[in-house]
Symmetry: C2
Subunit: 240 residues, 2 copies
């Protein structure tokens, strides 16, 4: 059994939500002892990822590398980083440790391809979009992204910051964006911000109104991780 | 700011629930960066604590000490162990590291005393009750425990194991026990099993039907921890 290291705290609720998804995905676990061993560095003081991409804040690379080394020294044999935007800085993580990091965006896109999706409506932070975190995976797997219009993206980003501050009244704004993505050719809406995943899970909320049209990056990676650790299923790892 | 080490995984849902309570108790946190830094060893393979107390399973002491050392080496400056029963083995943790462990039962009873409670109805595992985890705190603070009758306690323990296996239909059994404790002189019901805390939080469930009559050990410790880290409030530490 592998010990999974979780580079967390980005944001706090998102890490807890991801852990919850891992626990729930461990089907057939009847006793505590059937669950995955996770070591978690829940460090909410890591600098804001979107601000860094926008040149408005500190680069979080060194702090992510510190977290990765801390988890490796605590026995982690495999790392996962439940923050989509932080994958812009995954090279710093990979370069700093000897254990693999799950390639989150690639794991997500691979799963969507398996589900027959070729046009993915992306609901994510400014940093995830601006830095092209999903672009490489999408291109190499023959799929395409459908992105929000600029005003819609501003509305998504304001909703995410409100959720980080403990707010919750952001549903109608996000549903408007989701509807627009579907109108403009997206075959599904991908929730690709772990803060949004946590918000959706906390209230059993939907952006699209139709579970068939909606996928969640945290849920996909949680399931892929559990299948990897328990059944040896393949999961993609990030390169430098 | 102190880094808090969480000795977790007992059970998995309970640790996640405790983290969530810490995050929620961090009032006024508007940004990720305002939250507490936690390092978490979420090891669900630690042997069953109640089974160990009953002589039916392995002693978890060595594994708890390993987790504590792992967290200390990962930078934890203060440890907390969100499992009431595990505090039967807290001596092993305290002896193995140079950083303090929050005295969970004492923190809980101190708070109840502040709230004017002198007869505490205890809803907990067999192991917590049999090993007297709460007795020392209760005696030294001039309060008393009201315990379930043996058949009631069996019903509590079966409910806890059902919850660990993913069940949820245990409410009426637990409410019957809570009502009995209140009838027999308890001034409040103390939920002193982190698995029960997680179940109650997940469904906004109540054992007593009256929030005024109910206290939750996880919630009390989460609040005490946040007050300690953010405001320097005193929190009791466990001795050897």
């Amino acid at each position: 059994v592998k010990t999974v290291g979780v580079i967390g705290g980005m944001g706090p609720r998102a890490t807890v939500d991801f852990m919850q998804r891992v626990i729930a995905a461990t089907g057939g676990a009847e006793r505590d002892q059937d669950h995955l061993h996770m070591v978690v560095d829940h460090d909410p003081t890591i600098p804001d990822r979107s601000a860094a991409v926008a040149g408005l804040g500190d680069d979080p690379s060194a702090r992510l590398a510190t977290a990765a080394r801390r988890l490796e020294s605590a026995g982690a044999e495999l790392l996962v980083m439940p923050c989509n935007t932080a994958h812009r800085f995954s090279g710093a993580v990979v370069a700093s440790v000897g254990v693999p990091l799950v390639d989150w965006p690639r794991a997500v896109v691979e799963r969507l391809v398996q589900r027959g999706v070729s046009h993915i409506g992306l609901v994510a932070t400014n940093g995830t979009i601006a830095s092209g975190v999903y672009d490489r995976a999408v291109q190499s797997l023959g799929t395409q992204l459908v992105l929000p219009a600029p005003a819609e993206q501003a509305s998504v980003m304001s909703a995410i910051y409100e959720l980080k501050g403990g707010g919750c009244g952001v549903g109608s704004r996000l549903r408007t964006v989701a509807a627009s993505l579907l109108l403009r050719g997206a075959e599904c809406v991908l929730v690709a911000c772990t803060d949004l995943s946590a918000w959706a899970a906390a209230g059993a909320r939907s952006l699209s109104g139709d579970p068939e049209l909606e996928h969640d990056a945290s849920q996909i990676v949680a399931e892929a991780l559990v299948a990897h650790v328990r059944e040896g299923a393949r999961v993609p790892f990030a390169g430098i």
